[in-house]
């Protein structure tokens, strides 16, 4: 219907705000660029962290009569009612990045980042380092957030199985804070903890952890005592890995828009959940092309490390 009037496909996007994280900034930007007028879309995007505001926005788009409703939900639950009324109105719902806890019949498709997979892959890397004994500092993100739960699970499981030893377990707080992460490592150093791996659940916190190591004069990175892994594929992080200043970075891919757009354009939308393939890059596997292709945010340039 709507398509007929303007020739544009009407899309309503309900997303989290760019203020949430660097990942989200990239994600929101990606949505904006792909679902543009130039590409044949009449898209509106609402960005809010609040579940009820998200639902209100979704209902608004349903009332506006969009053709597609794209949702990255702040809360996994409470959506049933909304999704049903979308269905009743013949609107196709596609979830991206974040899952919603509901019957699969309530939405068309979901293109998600699998946080548990990310965690598993990262822990595999840690276990495969060949260290005689793994003493790991775990630096979590905001407690209870999807990323924290997924990325912590694998570590905790491995610790339970006796494959590694968590010597310090801290959090960067609700803002995934560099400073807080730094404090976690400083506290571990002050307590005389012996550790050889830092598992920080995003790049900023990994950076904070490395700052603490630097200040304490502890070696890290390629050939160093402490192995450092971060998450998210910020370009500065990848450059640090490339320079051997850090050891690895795990991807969390914010670019779902192109794929979804492809589905819409082809009129061939898969059903059910589809997970995006995500990479883990180490000092060995990293290349300029990969950084360029997959990295997010500013690139400090080859050879530049952040402290």
């Amino acid at each position: 219907q709507a398509q007929a009037e303007t020739g544009l496909t009407k899309v309503g996007i309900v997303n989290l705000p760019p203020e949430e994280s660097g990942y989200r900034q990239a994600n929101v930007e990606d949505m904006n660029t792909v679902f543009s007028k130039a590409n044949g879309y009449d898209a509106k995007q609402t960005n809010t962290m609040d579940n009820s505001e998200q639902i209100a926005a979704a209902k608004g788009y349903i009332r506006d009569g969009v053709d597609y409703l794209l949702i990255s939900a702040a809360n996994a639950s409470g959506w049933d009612d909304t999704l049903k009324s979308a269905k009743d109105a013949g609107i196709k719902v596609i979830l991206f990045d974040r899952a919603i806890d509901t019957a699969p019949a309530n939405y068309q498709a979901a293109l998600l980042s699998d946080m548990a997979y990310e965690g598993k892959k990262a822990v595999e890397w840690v276990l495969g380092l060949g260290l005689p004994k793994i003493n790991l500092i775990l630096i979590r993100g905001q407690m209870g957030s999807a990323a924290e739960i997924g990325r912590s699970a694998a570590v905790l499981e491995a610790a339970k199985a006796g494959k590694l030893n968590i010597v310090a377990d801290g959090t960067g707080g609700d803002s995934w804070s560099l400073e807080e992460a730094r404090k976690v490592v400083e506290a571990a150093i002050a307590a005389g903890k012996d550790f050889n791996v830092i598992y920080a659940q995003n790049d900023g916190m990994a950076q904070g952890a490395v700052q603490a190591l630097q200040a304490a004069g502890i070696s890290h990175g390629k050939g160093g005592k402490v192995k450092v892994i971060g998450f998210d594929f910020n370009r500065f992080a990848l450059r640090n890995v490339q320079a051997g200043y850090w050891d690895a970075d795990m991807q969390c891919n914010p670019r779902q828009a192109a794929e979804i757009s492809k589905w819409i354009k082809s009129g061939n939308i898969p059903s059910g959940v589809i997970y995006q393939e995500e990479l883990l890059l180490t000092t060995e596997t990293i290349t300029d092309e990969l950084i360029d292709k997959w990295g997010i945010n500013a690139d400090p340039g080859k050879g530049v490390i952040t402290r």
Binding site: P18, N32, K44, M49, S52, A56, N75, G90, D101, G144
Partner: protein, 363 residues
């Protein structure tokens, strides 16, 4: 003999009423503007009902907070307490022994417990409310993650029925994209908001306690000298705010059906903003509970306007700040014009909350 005729009586509106009036008028104007600019969205009754349906918890919390603020205090723990309650209820409802009655008790119990703890520390040990309720915020958030940190979707059948329950107004509604008639729906939470609004507004207006809150907020020292039990009054305001946070917590889970770390996060800032926009001063003594929902609705309509206008993502926060700016400045300009007596504002008597019928002073 001499002084009686010197002065004519000025029937001046009290600050509480004037601020409420301004908020109400600006809100109505804004809504009219919204209807004219985006009729597709705002002409529908469901849009209006959804403001309540989806935000009942915030509206309820704001009421309690408003009372605390009128008493000269502040409670920034409410959002987190509400969040904690959703998780506690979810954990309980998903457990073997879960029942809805029990969940309600848990919700109210936690809310009141927070209220009592904070109220005691603030009223009787005279510690600054900001520190205590900030600790309360930390405490609630910490207890939440300690209790359970993964999201829980409550699947208990009785609860799911409650969650999906809604009052349907069959004669009011709209047609959706496919031309199907969708009747308006009202959630139980909305009804609760109205009931609580009536109860609490009456409490503030017609009960001794309510008037004592105004007195304490206006001038704590004087209130003490006038024989008001200041400490108990302050204490009770925090208990009420804990209680409303408890109710809000239950309404929250009744709406979304899940416990989650992020539930009601940051609601305290929104509630404070709502209360202030609705005409309650942070310094205490001035405020009007009827204004509280108006404040909240104002914020929500701003959101809906931004959505309907399709503001670009990166500018949404800025635009929302800007609209807030206009609202606030407008409010302040009207206030100052009134202080300069360049405009006259009167309120119909039935709306006045703090001074009722004009009894002529017989001189």
């Amino acid at each position: 003999m001499a002084s009686a005729n010197i002065l004519k009586q000025k029937a001046r509106l009290s600050n509480s009423n004037i601020l409420f009036l301004i908020a109400a008028v600006i809100f109505v104007l804004m809504y009219l503007f919204a209807i004219i600019s985006y009729p597709a969205s705002f002409m529908q009754f469901q849009t209006f009902f959804d403001l309540f349906n989806l935000n009942a918890p915030l509206l309820i919390m704001t009421l309690g907070l408003c009372i605390v603020m009128i008493g000269g205090g502040i409670d920034i723990s409410i959002g987190s307490v509400c969040g904690l309650i959703t998780m506690a209820c979810a954990v309980y409802l998903q457990s073997e022994s879960g029942s809805i009655g029990g969940a309600i008790l848990i919700a109210l119990g936690i809310g009141i417990a927070f209220g009592i703890l904070q109220g005691y520390l603030i009223a009787y040990l005279e510690i600054q409310p900001f520190i205590i309720t900030l600790s309360g915020l930390f405490l609630a958030q910490g207890l939440l993650t300690t209790l359970h940190k993964d999201p829980i979707n409550v699947t208990m059948p009785a609860f799911v029925r409650l969650r999906d329950f809604e009052f349907v107004i069959t004669w009011l509604g709209t047609r959706n994209r496919l031309g199907v008639f969708i009747p308006c729906e009202i959630k139980p939470g909305t009804v609760l908001v109205v009931i609580l609004l009536v109860i609490l507004a009456s409490l503030m207006k017609w009960s001794r306690f309510g008037r004592n809150v105004y007195a304490v907020g206006g001038n704590m020292h004087s209130a003490l000298m006038l024989g008001v039990n200041v400490k108990r009054t302050i204490f009770i305001t925090y208990v009420i705010s804990g209680l409303t946070a408890g109710i809000a917590g239950f309404v929250y889970i009744m709406t979304t059906g899940a416990g989650n770390v992020g539930n009601a996060a940051g609601a305290e800032m929104k509630a404070i903003a709502s209360a202030i926009i609705g005409g309650t001063l942070l310094n205490g003594g001035v405020g009007n509970l009827l204004g509280a929902p108006i404040g909240t609705l104002t914020l929500l309509v701003i959101n809906e306007l931004i959505r309907a206008a399709g503001v670009q993502s990166n500018f949404q926060a800025m635009v929302s700040g800007l609209l807030l700016y206009f609202f606030i400045v407008l409010q302040s300009i009207i206030m100052s014009l009134r202080d300069r007596k360049s405009i006259k504002l009167t309120l119909p008597p039935w709306l006045k909350l703090s001074d009722k019928q004009q009894v002529p002073s017989n001189q």
